[in-house]
């Protein structure tokens, strides 16, 4: 090929890179590995993680059963080796899958339009706040429940760190729900952001929150970190939420040390031109056949550049697809059945733990599959001691909330066996006493 171009040395093609800017040595990297050695090397690293045993971690990432059909379909390389469906004639598979995902997100959230997905739940909430500020231009205050996932709040703070918007955090009461009175929604409030079930697993009273927002002319933003709850809980849109967004990892996406996940985002039709991210719509082709295209792209950076609604370029295509396959497989009935198993198992575990001396369930509000337990000893210590014995009992809350040193956030999903719950309860009983 070089000769056909009249060249003799490959470096002739790099002449535009001045000598002074070229690397004069080889990169210092490990020697190349064969496929066999590579697999062995990574197998060893994978085995250094402890992932089996009794793990009761949630906090925005949940161990749910994922039917194998998801991975079998997702491994078809027509899905995963394609790119953003810019050319609709060669991308109808991805485009139709996105259209189905958008529809399912609307069905789950009770809202009218949904986008093709965002990076994760935290950035979805941050984009929701930015959208609320666009819709409510001139308002400079955002009320944020302290019971929103601390990582999500941190991301919102990062996204808004250079704006003149004041983020007011509002605490919670003994039910674990937002102290709505303290929110003091006013004419300067662009949005109120809550999560339900919130970080403590407690289901918020969305009817009241959305009504209060409406009265103040603020947008109600409902974050959902545990999307499985939508299988059984009243759709937030039916409570009057203006934006419902969050994390769809629960729908067949591996926990994978925190990503890639799939953020979802739904809102009311009247705000459609303020949506961030990709959107797929129906279109007619030159033969009058119905198909799908990326649409309303005049909101987006590749057309609008600095005037875009977001800098976002891709969505989470493959994981959006996996969520769509999960929801198709579980369907109208299955999703509810799984959600109900979560409730029953989590409530069983909570009841058993609450009956142990020194342990109480901290909040009185209704919960889905996660709850906070007040422990007789510092929760971090207790967690570490149990973990050494193979039981990861939950997330200690000391690093998230001042004064919650003796609080442990425990998640129990449908994958927790009764034997596993028994072991957790026994271990808590055994290690709960004084040192």
């Amino acid at each position: 090929m070089l000769a056909s171009m009249g060249k003799s040395d490959i470096m002739e093609l790099f002449e535009s890179i001045p000598e002074r800017l070229r690397l004069s040595r080889p990169l210092n990297l490990p020697a190349p590995k064969s496929e066999f050695d590579l697999a062995a090397y990574f197998r060893d690293l994978a085995d250094r993680n402890r992932t089996s045993g009794d793990v009761f971690l949630g906090a925005g990432v949940y161990d749910h059963f994922a039917p194998v059909v998801i991975d079998h379909m997702a491994l078809r390389s027509e899905w995963y080796t394609a790119y953003t469906p810019y050319q609709p004639e060669l991308s109808q598979g991805t485009l139709q899958a996105i259209f189905e995902f958008q529809t399912m997100v609307c069905q789950l959230t009770g809202l009218e339009v949904a986008n093709a997905s965002l990076y994760d739940g935290s950035t979805a909430v941050a984009e929701a706040v930015l959208m609320a500020l666009r819709v409510n231009k001139g308002r400079h205050r955002v009320v944020m429940a302290a019971s929103v996932h601390p990582h999500y709040r941190a991301v919102v703070n990062t996204y808004l760190r250079n704006s003149d918007v004041e983020i007011v955090e509002v605490g919670f009461d003994s039910t674990g729900r937002i102290d709505l009175e303290a929110a003091a929604l006013d004419g300067n409030t662009a949005a109120i952001v809550v999560q339900s079930p919130n970080f403590f697993g407690v289901i918020e009273n969305l009817d009241d929150i959305c009504a209060a927002a409406r009265d103040a002319g603020a947008l109600s933003v409902v974050g959902v970190a545990e999307a499985m709850s939508l299988g059984v809980l009243k759709a937030p849109g039916d409570s009057g939420a203006d934006i419902v967004c969050g994390e769809a990892q629960s729908f067949g996406v591996p926990m994978s040390f925190g990503g890639p996940f799939v953020g979802f985002f739904a809102t009311r039709e009247k705000f459609v031109r303020q949506l961030p991210g990709r959107l797929v719509g129906r279109a007619l082709d030159s033969h009058g056949q119905l198909g799908f295209v990326l649409t309303l792209s005049t909101r987006e950076q590749h057309i609008r550049r600095e005037k875009a609604t977001s800098n976002i370029c891709t969505n989470q295509g493959l994981f959006m697809l996996m969520a769509t396959i999960y929801l198709s497989t579980m369907g109208r009935k299955g999703l509810r059945e799984v959600a109900e198993q979560n409730i029953r198992k989590a409530h069983e575990a909570a009841a058993r733990i609450a009956s142990l001396p020194g342990y109480t369930v901290k909040f009185s509000g209704p919960t889905f599959n996660e709850f906070v337990v007040s422990t007789p000893r510092p929760a971090r210590q207790l967690r570490d001691e149990l973990a050494a014995g193979g039981i990861v009992a939950g997330v200690p809350l000391d690093r998230y909330y001042a004064g919650m040193d003796n609080d442990l956030l425990i998640a129990v999903t449908e994958t927790a066996s009764i034997e596993s719950i028994d072991r957790l309860v026994s271990a808590l009983a055994e290690f709960g006493g004084a040192n």
Binding site: S16, L21, P30, Y83, E89, A97, Q107, V113, N162, V280
Partner: protein, 506 residues
């Protein structure tokens, strides 16, 4: 009687080409799952959660069998085109082969089932992956500190620009403006605006390069940074990048490099050595992780020492005993940019890719990518006009200038190449090349595949002259014809709705 004499009656329809929406397949009572028994007595849900917080139903959600799920998503997949199908010369997107072993490795249970909030002593394998990938990317870019957190290139831009702003704030003056060349990706200005900066354009020279004199004219102590792409979106190396960096540094600004085109530089030249202060990488481009039909990607950033304190939390740190931990004790950090530490599944694949190729392999990948792009340039420049003359690295930008004389636009050529079995090149930018046809073949294409593509592009050039209507009305061989995207945007239909009064399966 030969086969050609047989009259084949038209089929009424083709099931694979006419797959309905999953909602339209739904029939009441079908199911595709089987849950284990609960194992405890089934308490009434409303005894645990008040009835007013519960829903009755998820209206419209499908009810289908497992096999129907498989049929549905298999049929849809056949309507897609991926790198595994054929050459995907989408300029700036680096659609290279995604090695299969990386798919297997990312699915090891120890990775897939790793919860991000496991105690660190149970997550050493994951943390080791993060650390080793940071080290490798630091070596490849010449930038000493890597944050793996950003979920995509645009997210990396945002993260790095937030760090730059935080650094200026710490110095006492946040500054007002970011300079961006007119050849830049649209994400660059959009990211700068999200950080609270104004954007000021810098004009390219007639050679399609940055003009140091123009940068100097625009560079003031109110300019926070210059965001450039190198090689730029024309596939050209910014030959005076070190001088440009000096100009920006002299006024206290930072140079941000969009690393979308890093596939042209691996083992050849390092941004850190050019004077660049920070950059993002697209692991889904340069480091072979699958594009996934539009994500997930990963957009790690690399920075110089001065910007390190501002990188997002947490950072991976090595303890004295050799174990790793996540460090949150970083008071100047811009904070979190996502819920957890990164698109870990993508990071695993990228590290596997780097370890498969090694130093020589990465350099060879770059050399071959540049060879392939130049071969296409060499074989097509007599029939398609170059946007800018001169040498190119990993991609080449033609325009439709000659074909326009016959009333054919770049978008028509894009649709026609589909009829030859290829995915089209990038047509939407750079903005400084009107009618752009931006071709990036990558290193993983064989000469035979390149020749087929070249022959097809040459045939289309001829069609533009002889039978332009065929090109203008393309594609002709796809399941769907050309779409009316304008009409779709005017009255957007963004979701399926059940037909009023019609019950599925009735």
């Amino acid at each position: 009687m030969g086969a050609s004499d047989v009259k084949v009656p038209a089929a009424a329809g083709h099931i694979v080409r006419n797959e309905d929406l999953i909602f339209e397949r739904s029939r009441a009572g079908r199911q595709g799952y089987h849950l284990p028994d609960l194992g405890i007595p089934e308490k009434d849900i409303s005894s645990m959660i008040p009835g007013e917080l519960l829903r009755d139903d998820i209206e419209g959600m499908p009810e289908v069998s497992e096999f129907e799920v498989v049929r549905h998503f298999t049929r849809l997949s056949t309507w897609n085109y991926g790198v595994d199908t054929g050459l995907y010369p989408l300029g700036s997107c680096t659609m290279k082969y995604n090695p299969k072993i990386n798919e297997s490795i990312a699915r090891f249970e120890g990775f897939g089932k790793a919860h991000p909030l496991l105690p660190e002593f149970l997550s050493q394998g994951s943390l080791e992956i993060l650390r080793q990938l940071e080290d490798a990317l630091a070596e490849i870019t010449g930038l000493p500190h890597i944050s793996l957190q950003p979920a995509a290139g645009a997210h990396g831009e945002l993260t790095a620009m937030l760090a730059i702003r935080a650094c200026h704030a710490k110095r006492g003056h946040v500054r007002k403006t970011v300079l961006i060349p007119d050849s830049a990706h649209g994400t660059n200005p959009a990211s700068a605006i999200m950080c609270g900066y104004e954007v000021h354009g810098v004009t390219s020279t007639s050679a399609g390069l940055l003009d140091p004199a123009d940068v100097e004219r625009n560079m003031t102590e109110d300019v926070a940074a210059l965001m450039l792409t190198n090689p730029n979106t024309l596939g050209k190396f910014e030959e005076e990048i070190d001088k440009v960096c000096e100009i920006v540094h002299a006024k206290g600004g930072f140079v941000y490099m969009d690393g979308a085109n890093m596939n042209a530089l691996m083992g050849i030249s390092r941004p850190g050595d050019m004077g660049v202060d920070c950059m993002h990488l697209n692991l889904h481009k340069t480091f072979s992780t699958p594009h996934g039909g539009g994500g997930p990607g990963a957009g790690p950033i690399g920075v110089v020492d001065e910007l390190e304190p501002y990188l997002p939390n947490p950072r991976v740190a090595r303890n004295a005993d050799g174990t790793l931990q996540l460090n949150f004790d970083r008071p100047d950090s811009i904070g979190r940019v996502r819920a957890f530490v990164g698109n870990f599944g993508v990071l695993v694949r990228a590290l596997a890719y780097i370890y498969t190729l090694g130093a020589d392999g990465l350099r060879e990948a770059t050399e071959t990518a540049v060879l392939n792009a130049n071969y296409i340039k060499h074989r097509l420049e007599d029939v398609y006009a170059l946007a800018y003359e001169g040498s190119v690295l990993h991609e080449v930008v033609f325009t439709d200038r000659r074909q326009q004389a016959f009333g054919v636009k770049n978008s028509d050529i894009a649709k026609r190449i589909i009829d030859y079995g290829f995915y089209p090149p990038t047509m939407s930018f750079p903005l400084i090349a009107p009618g752009a046809i931006m071709i990036e073949p990558t290193e993983t294409e064989s000469r035979e595949e390149l020749d087929l593509f070249i022959d097809s592009m040459r045939a289309i050039a001829e069609e533009c002259e002889q039978t332009p209507d065929i090109v203008r009305s393309a594609p002709h061989r796809t399941r769907m014809g050309r779409f009316d995207e304008t009409a779709a945007a005017r009255k957007p239909v963004l979701r399926w709705q059940p037909e009023k009064g019609k019950v599925a399966g009735a």
